[in-house]
């Protein structure tokens, strides 16, 4: 109970910060929207003939969602390093709040920011003319899964931040995502991939997240894909949250 309450108090603080320093968030919003528009503009018309995708605008929507969510999810780690450097993190450690709330608040703020951004992205895709097979319920599911993905992904940056205290390292953690994003059916479906790339992509959790989200947009309620996608997100969450909890214990233990 206390954990939840304090997490929300600290999340509010992180969100206030985002509102007062919006430059980062504007950048985070611009990148996925820009890439979406450009990719759809460049490949959209030939996608049907090239790899049999009829609704390329819908096909690209989950890519923008993941890109946006991942960008937002770099926030918690970076902000955590600044808290460590300013000494505010130590002040938080000296309160009687559950320590997981200190990182939980930041990560949850990333989740909330991601939900807002994903809503924007969906709205823009619809305005571009993307279809959406599962309708409003699916849209809510997609936006929420973007939030959960950010909540999970931000653990990487936070863990690195707690481990190193270095803003550079925490940002490098975010870059980790980019190869993963492109070793997946990002621009084209898996069946047009060269074999070696397909093998790699099948081992990449992002592939299943992407396919699950894509099912919502262009496929319909395909429970197999949706389950695999959810499992991939949660599996990633278990890994990153464990990393975060361990890094937190390391930093709070006071060598």
């Amino acid at each position: 109970m206390r954990f939840l309450r304090d997490t929300i108090l600290l999340m509010n603080r992180a969100l206030r910060e985002a509102i007062r320093q919006p430059a980062n968030e504007i950048g985070n919003a611009f990148i996925p929207l820009f890439f979406y528009a450009v990719t759809v503009g460049a490949v959209g018309d030939v996608a049907r003939e090239a790899f049999g995708v009829s609704d390329y605008k819908g096909f690209q929507l989950p890519v923008a969602i993941l890109q946006g969510a991942a960008g937002v999810a770099g926030g918690a780690g970076l902000a955590m390093t600044l808290d460590i450097q300013s000494g505010y993190f130590e002040k938080l450690l000296l309160t009687s709040t559950p320590r997981l709330a200190i990182v939980g608040g930041r990560m949850l703020a990333d989740g909330v920011k991601s939900v807002i951004l994903c809503t924007l992205i969906v709205a823009m895709a619809l305005a571009f003319g993307s279809g959406f097979e599962t309708g409003p319920v699916g849209m809510v599911a997609l936006v929420l899964s973007g939030g959960v993905f950010a909540l999970c992904y931000s653990g990487i940056g936070v863990a690195i931040a707690l481990k190193t205290g270095s803003p550079q390292a925490a940002q490098a953690g975010f870059l980790l995502f980019f190869p993963l994003l492109f070793l997946a059916p990002t621009f084209a479906p898996l069946d047009v991939f060269a074999t070696w790339l397909e093998v790699i992509a099948r081992a990449n959790p992002v592939t299943y997240i992407l396919e699950g989200m894509r099912a919502l947009v262009t496929g319909g309620w395909q429970w197999g894909s949706l389950l695999k996608g959810s499992a991939a997100i949660l599996g990633m969450g278990v890994v990153t949250w464990t990393m975060t909890a361990m890094a937190l214990r390391g930093r709070a233990a006071g060598g």
């Binding site: 206390r2 304090d6 108090l9 600290l10 603080r13 206030r16 910060e17 007062r20 320093q21 808290d83 300013s86 000494g87 505010y88 993190f89 130590e90 002040k91 938080l92 450690l93 000296l94 309160t95 009687s96 709040t97 233990a253 006071g254 060598g255």
Partner: protein, 321 residues
């Protein structure tokens, strides 16, 4: 009951860096305890161990009757801490930061808001309470940091160099907060590089040197332990000082003495009575006296004797005599 107890407390960061090297503390409840020492002597490291931020290499400590290793979370609930470097979030306003701080100590919302308002008043920040900290001056941040340490009404408060870098007026105000709270029974553990601060505020002090406590007691007891008066003799050269030392050491009434280059400081009970015979004796021995000053012994003298050097402070060079 003792507020703070430490036994053979040690923190070694490495083979060479023995930041705290076996200290014992017994600080009764309701005391203002001063921890004096120059840069790197181990003050902050001690505070960090006592406030559960740092695990001791060995030894034990209890704060408010609670073992720091066994129940750190219980200690955090009952102590207030203002670290040497203010750790604040510059994007929040003073009121937001202070209210959040109270909430994180489990103070209910309405109480937290009232208390934050009152405390902002006490530290003279009521007018700036709703501005982000970015626009605060160094002294304002320090005062807010102090308020953060007090918001949950702790019984034991650690202040690590709370007045370093403050102007005299703010420093005086800070001293008064400490005195007022202390009257209400709050125990303070205060580190400082200012002898005047220790003398004015502290019931007891400990002098740290290279990780060890080299002198301990009330300021009065420490001062009288080296004699109540001090005579500073400026001699022609360090050589002269060396030559005169045995003679001065045997001189009637001298409790102890300290040679610093061409300067010799004598500590004695009745300085005024000793001046004339002293000058005569030195003249007889053919030692030329260039300067002679009689004054009361200060904590700096105590410090000098305990550590062999003056208390050098970061922002004012050599400690004064």
């Amino acid at each position: 009951m003792a507020a703070i107890v430490a036994r053979a407390l040690v923190k070694h960061f490495s083979q060479e860096i023995k930041a705290v090297d076996g200290i014992d503390l017994d600080i009764p409840e309701g005391q203002v305890f001063g921890f004096l020492g120059q840069n790197g002597s181990g003050k902050t490291t001690t505070v960090r161990m006592l406030t559960t931020l740092l695990k001791p290499t060995s030894g034990s400590a209890e704060v408010g009757g609670v073992d720091v290793l066994a129940h750190p979370e219980r200690i955090r609930r009952s102590v207030g801490v203002a670290m040497q470097e203010v750790g604040l979030d510059e994007v929040q306003t003073g009121r937001e930061l202070l209210t959040l701080q109270a909430r994180l100590f489990d103070v209910p919302g309405p109480v937290a808001r009232t208390r934050a308002g009152n405390l902002l008043d006490v530290v003279g920040l009521a007018g700036d309470a709703d501005r982000p900290l970015k626009g605060y001056s160094g002294g304002m941040k320090r005062r807010l940091d102090l308020a953060c340490a007090l918001i949950h009404e702790p019984r034991i408060v650690f202040l690590d160099e709370p007045t370093t870098g403050l102007d005299p007026i703010t420093r005086e105000a800070m001293w008064r907060y400490v005195e007022d709270l202390n009257k209400g029974g709050v125990t303070f553990f205060l580190t400082t590089q200012y002898l005047e601060e220790a003398d004015r505020l502290c019931d007891d002090i400990a002098i740290m040197d290279r990780g060890q406590i080299v002198a301990k007691g009330s300021p009065e007891a420490l001062k009288s332990s080296i004699g109540t008066d001090a005579i500073t003799l400026g001699l022609g050269s360090a050589e002269d000082a060396g030559l005169a030392e045995p003679l001065l050491r045997r001189f009637e009434g001298v409790d102890s003495l300290q040679v610093q280059g061409a300067q010799v400081i004598l500590y004695l009970k009745n300085g005024a009575a000793a001046v004339a015979p002293l000058v005569l004796a030195l003249a007889e021995a053919n030692v030329k006296v260039e300067d002679l000053r009689l004054r009361q012994a200060t904590l700096d003298d105590v410090f000098l004797r305990a550590t062999g050097h003056h208390l050098e402070t970061g922002d004012q060079g050599q400690g004064r005599l």
